[in-house]
Amino acid sequence: MEVAVQNDVAGIVAECGGGCACATCHVYVGNENRIVLPSISDMEADMLECTAVERRDSSRLSCQLKITLDMDGLIVDIPERQS
């Protein structure tokens, strides 16, 4: 999320600044099968129920995805709106 905001990626709103409190940094992870992501916490799971557009199996909140070298090649799609 921070990387997206700092690089001015349109479509990541992140109103709460990365606090897992607003569900406006929703992304769809494209190739999640090949890349191991941190597991979804209870808090994130709850917030994912509250995204502006429909939650899919590949939904994550990008504030909870800290980028590591292992994620090289990760593709995420941004939903059409966040609120």
């Binding site: 700092q6 709460c16 600044g17 409190a21 917030m47 129920e49 509250c50």
Partner: protein, 409 residues
């Protein structure tokens, strides 16, 4: 002919949002954002939270990189103070006397800390948390001391107390009223938080004012009204904010504990708008005037202003929401529940998570959720769409709130 610029005074959350939203809305004229501080516009909420641990890189607080301002042709003028407005000539007047002509002006001047007024309030070792400069100074000092005193049991004081405890400091906190966060949450929740802070080792003094501070060798001595003395290495003061209305007031714009704006963000001058902490504004959801100090209000009101500067746009009807992190308790507040005549508890009252739903005459006013983000989000939707919900339903864990929040209002 090139028109005069849209000028935004105040480069905080609201000011930046106005600029971002007018550009997204298609405004392609000259746009100037003026800020007093030297850093790129940044997020304030972390300053009383994680930032105090000293592990947060300051760069992570900035909203947008320099390239954002370049790409969006926002002329960012930092370190510049506006001294006065000339509404007749459509000028803002800088410290030093230079002027800038505007077509439309937006005041997003925010608020400043309410200063402590007692003997010794200006001694070295007394800190506030408002700007990055404030927080940086506190953070550096905090790392080197053991005993922290806090005056003020509002969000800022409590978040600072919680962070100081996480850093293993001894913490004593004084609150003049009997209730923590008394302006924002119910006595029930306030009591829960008092217990939470005590469990985490904070020495709480409720209903207790500090009358005098003096410096003795390397420590601060706080004298309370009852004559007791408390020693600490530093003092953090969080006793609220004062809206920055002076520019508006001196220009004879209508003010009433804030710059008065209507539901479109218009001040009493047709070419001057205002948004954020500094406004006393009409909110259509609440059906009354209110002044709110929150990120939500800054962002949502700024969007309304952006939509109404050059044409008639939407009016302000956003449901207020707010959050605060203290220890492992994430508090999320939806709506304004303070005028309730009834409330119900959803879940078991413990740090792991519960919500309080507030009603007046059977109508939902809002909810405070601790570690129950789904309750919070559902409550916001229910309020937004004015969906009926009974207290007995809200208080029943088996009742599906999310499903109710998704029906048409």
């Amino acid at each position: 002919m090139q028109k005069n610029p849209l000028v935004v005074v105040g480069a905080g959350q609201a000011g930046l949002q106005v600029c971002d939203s007018v550009r997204k809305g298609g405004y392609d004229g000259h746009l100037v954002l003026i800020g007093e501080e030297s850093s790129l516009p940044y997020q304030r909420p972390p300053l009383s939270k994680k930032y105090l641990t000293g592990t947060v890189d300051e760069q992570r607080l900035t909203f947008r990189p320099v390239s954002f301002y370049e790409k969006n042709q926002i002329e960012l003028r930092l370190n510049e103070r506006i001294e006065a407005l000339d509404c007749i000539k459509h000028n803002v007047i800088f410290a030093g006397g230079k002027t800038l002509n505007y077509e439309k002006l937006v005041l997003t001047t925010g608020s400043r800390v309410r200063p402590l007024r007692c003997d010794g309030a200006d001694l070295p070792g007394v800190f506030y948390i408002r700007t990055l400069t404030d927080a940086r100074a506190l953070c550096q000092r905090l790392a080197k001391v053991d005993r922290v005193a806090v005056i003020g049991g509002g969000f800022i004081g409590l978040e600072a107390a919680a962070m100081a405890r996480e850093l293993q400091k001894t913490v004593v906190l004084f609150e003049t009223t009997e209730h923590l966060m008394g302006r924002a949450v119910s006595a029930f929740l306030s009591d829960f938080y008092a217990e939470l802070h005590r469990e985490h080792g904070v020495e709480l003094h409720l209903g207790c004012s500090v009358n005098r501070i003096r410096r003795q060798k390397n420590e601060l001595v706080l004298e309370t009204e009852t004559g007791t003395e408390h020693r600490a290495d530093i003092l953090v003061v969080g006793i609220g904010v004062i809206p920055n209305v002076e520019l508006a007031e001196n220009a004879e714009l209508e003010c009433r504990d804030g710059i008065l704006v209507d539901e479109y963000g218009r001040t009493s001058d047709p070419d001057i708008f205002s948004a954020g902490d500094c406004t006393m504004h009409y909110n259509g959801f609440l059906g009354r005037e209110v002044r709110l100090e929150s990120v939500q209000n800054a962002v949502d009101q700024a969007k309304i202003v952006a939509g109404n500067l050059f044409q008639k746009g939407a009016s302000y009807t956003a449901v207020p929401w707010f959050w605060s992190d203290q220890y492992d308790a994430k508090l999320q507040i939806a709506g304004l529940g303070m005028s309730h005549d009834e409330f119900v508890v959803r879940g078991e009252v413990k740090e792991e998570g519960f919500s309080l739903f507030y009603f007046r005459k059977g109508i939902l006013l809002g909810a405070d959720s601790i570690n129950r983000p789904a309750d919070h989000m559902a409550c916001r939707k229910i309020l937004e769409n004015r969906i009926d919900i009974r207290p007995s339903e809200a208080g029943d864990l088996n009742f599906d709130l999310r499903k109710r929040s998704k029906i048409a209002g």
